[in-house]
């Protein structure tokens, strides 16, 4: 099976690329750049993301936005050119060690960006954490362990920990007066951790989780469990699915008539990027997440229009995470003038990075290298994530077990 992915090259991107290259060539002829003589090698960014299967859209969104951010800053990191080495993770945990080793040892990348899948994140963090280089940046996978027991000096995350978007969701459910709830998710890292955080918050605020349903990943037959929920009659249901699974869950939940009787809550991924596909089934559902489409800031509006122009589709939270990964790389390389081999200084710059232009609003790194960020309360209204307010201000992951804290 081919591992290198080049298939994301569309005609549009080819044209943009050609235009950019021509522009650079012209500019280069007039103004010799700083490294024109020294023939400095480009900074290598290894990318391990899914480009096929259920989560292909996530891999593409992250990659497109990451490249967009770096292009916006002139296409260079600290004055050096950038070379991307992308591998399709195929969402395969067994292939993760080989893929990671290949990027580190064969391609000798300076930065390693990935993954989407929490299981792969654990594999990568174990490999990278034993070394001083490269520096790993997680643009999605929320596994609590990556900035918990597996945290490391050279491991950063620009997305979220699974605990972060789920905990305020559990609080919300209790605050809205619900006393009993059923949790339902896939039986894998993200599902278990998010349901755990939701339950923790719900029960701390006086609620009681009466049943925890976990379905084998990535199965999407929900009928049996919907009948079970209908028989249990809880006040609310707390769910996490994403992508195609989320679309199907929302549709089945509505079609079984449960939506009108038992309100559905969850971390924002439940409704992220699927509102159009799920249609009326997603309407009115309240979720909590570190981003909302309709955040009313210049940074968000500018980002959304720029992303729409290059990617040809609307931005989502995954694109935001890719975009902020680009910002982090730019700041890290700028702080050391492109000499990214100076690891300690690069790490310091990354720890102190600021994101005033982030589409999600300002955030910064915790001691465990995980974003301290606002978690928003959103509701699906007319197919859009309408912002209702901030569910938790500058929320920090507990980072249980991290030796950096």
């Amino acid at each position: 099976m081919p591992k290198k992915q080049n298939s994301t090259t569309t005609r549009r991107r080819f044209l943009v690329g050609t235009a950019a290259t021509t522009g650079l060539a012209v500019a280069g002829g007039v103004l010799p750049t700083r490294f024109a003589i020294g023939a400095m090698a480009p900074i290598k960014i290894g990318i391990l993301l899914p480009y096929s299967g259920t989560y292909a859209a996530l891999g593409n969104a992250i990659t497109d936005a990451l490249k967009l951010r770096i292009e916006q800053a002139g296409g260079k990191l600290g004055g050096r050119d950038v070379e991307y080495v992308a591998i399709n993770s195929e969402m395969s945990v067994p292939k993760a060690p080989t893929n990671t080793e290949k990027l580190i040892k064969k391609d000798e990348v300076d930065f390693l960006v990935g993954p989407v899948h929490s299981g792969i994140a654990a594999v990568m963090a174990k490999i990278v954490g034993k070394r001083t280089a490269p520096i790993m940046i997680v643009p999605n996978a929320g596994s609590n362990a990556v900035t918990g027991p597996l945290c490391g000096k050279n491991i950063f995350r620009t997305s979220f920990s699974n605990w972060q978007p789920a905990y305020p969701g559990g609080e919300l459910m209790a605050k809205e007066g619900h006393k009993t709830a059923v949790t339902i998710s896939w039986k894998y890292g993200a599902g278990i951790q998010m349901m755990g955080a939701g339950k923790e918050a719900f029960e701390k605020n006086g609620g009681k989780v009466v049943q925890e349903i976990l379905i084998p990943f990535p199965q999407v037959e929900f009928q049996a469990h919907l009948a079970e929920i209908a028989a249990l009659k809880p006040d609310a249901v707390f769910a996490f699915y994403s992508g195609g699974g989320a679309t199907k869950f929302l549709q089945d939940y509505a079609a079984a008539g449960l939506k009108d009787n038992i309100p559905l809550y969850g971390p924002g991924f439940l409704t992220e990027g699927v509102t159009k596909a799920a249609g009326a089934a997603a309407e009115g559902i309240k979720t909590t997440l570190h981003y909302a489409d309709t955040l009313d800031t210049d940074a968000n509006r500018n980002f959304r229009s720029a992303y729409q122009a290059v990617a040809g589709r609307g931005a989502d939270v995954f694109a935001v995470q890719g975009y902020d990964t680009g910002s982090l790389l730019l700041q890290a390389a700028a702080a050391v003038g492109g000499d990214v081999s100076a690891s300690a200084d690069v790490i310091k710059a990354m720890e102190q990075a600021t994101f005033p232009d982030s589409p999600r609003g300002d955030w910064h790194m915790s001691k465990a290298h995980n974003p301290i960020q606002d978690i928003y309360l959103r509701q699906v209204v007319n197919g859009e994530q309408k912002l209702l307010g901030v569910a938790a201000k500058q929320l920090e992951d507990p980072a249980t077990g991290c030796k950096l804290v």
Partner: protein, 289 residues
């Protein structure tokens, strides 16, 4: 579990079984008659779902989309048989697996180029958007009942076509003794082309009719393929009756496995397969070799 819940779960299991039968019947037909292991069957299912999504967007109605989509699926099946499969009848199964695996890669890539990597939903036609109340909190969508009825219709239609028509006679004859059929002057190549096209159309049709409840997304064919093989193997490879019984068993086992043994639910169907193969190595309705 009270009686009402039990009956609802039986309904869920049977309905899932019907869906599985629709997909698996094409697979078992192709193997039983032609001896071809077609692992691109899931890809046909996926193409069907995407066609339903695309054509529904164009013509505005799922039923019309299905009417337009079926000839397209037959054409795709026919083209694949004429251009690729036909060269492998006299070869080992391994060649067929390699070829049809290659087809999966091609179809997945084509899907990405044509429709991108997003998730899509297909709207249930307005006439079937209602639901039957089951309990005070649970309703059962008309569309799911409709699918069950259609699956029963397809099962009955296939039974009649295979047992009562001339084409069915040729198909059955071709399945049991290819050389003899050829010696009697029947163009077995033509029969095979028809069977393969029908098999592809069945897979595509299940993708289309299932699209509103399965939703449409990349890689959806890979998931259905494995469970279809389980159904076919349990029922006995090549037996339509077996595929029906196998699909019902798997549908019920999976549904009750999820409710009663949630910790082991991913294993239940495979455990059932192992038990059945232990006593009936040929599957429940498989031919003795």
């Amino acid at each position: 579990m009270d009686l009402a819940t039990f009956l609802i779960q039986v309904l869920n299991g049977v309905q899932y079984g019907f869906m599985l039968f629709l997909v698996a019947s094409g697979l078992t037909l192709i193997f039983g008659v032609m001896g071809i292991i077609n692992i691109a069957h899931g890809a046909f299912y996926m193409i069907g779902a995407y066609l339903a999504f695309w054509l529904t967007g164009v013509v505005g109605n799922l039923f019309l989309a299905i009417v337009l989509g079926i000839p397209l699926m037959v054409a795709i099946g026919y083209a694949v048989e004429r251009l690729a499969i036909t060269h492998l009848y006299h070869r080992d199964h391994l060649y067929q697996v390699l070829l049809t695996y290659g087809l999966i890669l091609i179809f997945n890539e084509a899907q990405k180029l044509l429709w991108g990597t997003g998730f899509h939903g297909v709207r249930v036609p307005a006439i079937l958007s209602g639901a039957v109340p089951l309990t005070d909190t649970l309703v059962y969508p008309h569309y799911r009942l409709f699918i069950s009825v259609v699956c029963l219709g397809v099962a009955a239609g296939m039974y009649v076509a295979i047992n009562r028509t001339k084409l069915g006679m040729m198909i059955r004859a071709g399945a049991s003794n290819r050389e003899m059929v050829e010696a009697l002057g029947i163009d077995i190549g033509k029969v095979f082309a028809i069977v393969f096209s029908l098999g592809a159309a069945l897979a595509g049709f299940s993708g289309m009719i299932g699209a509103p409840i399965s939703s449409v997304y990349p890689g959806m064919g890979d998931q259905i393929l494995i469970i279809s093989f389980v159904v076919v193997v349990i029922g006995g490879i090549g037996s339509i009756k077996g595929a029906f019984v196998g699909a019902m068993l798997i549908g019920l086992a999976d549904t009750f496995g999820q409710v009663l043994l949630p910790e082991l639910s991913s294993m239940v169907v495979y455990a059932l397969m192992a038990i059945i193969l232990f006593w009936w190595p040929q599957g429940l309705f498989g031919r003795r070799v």
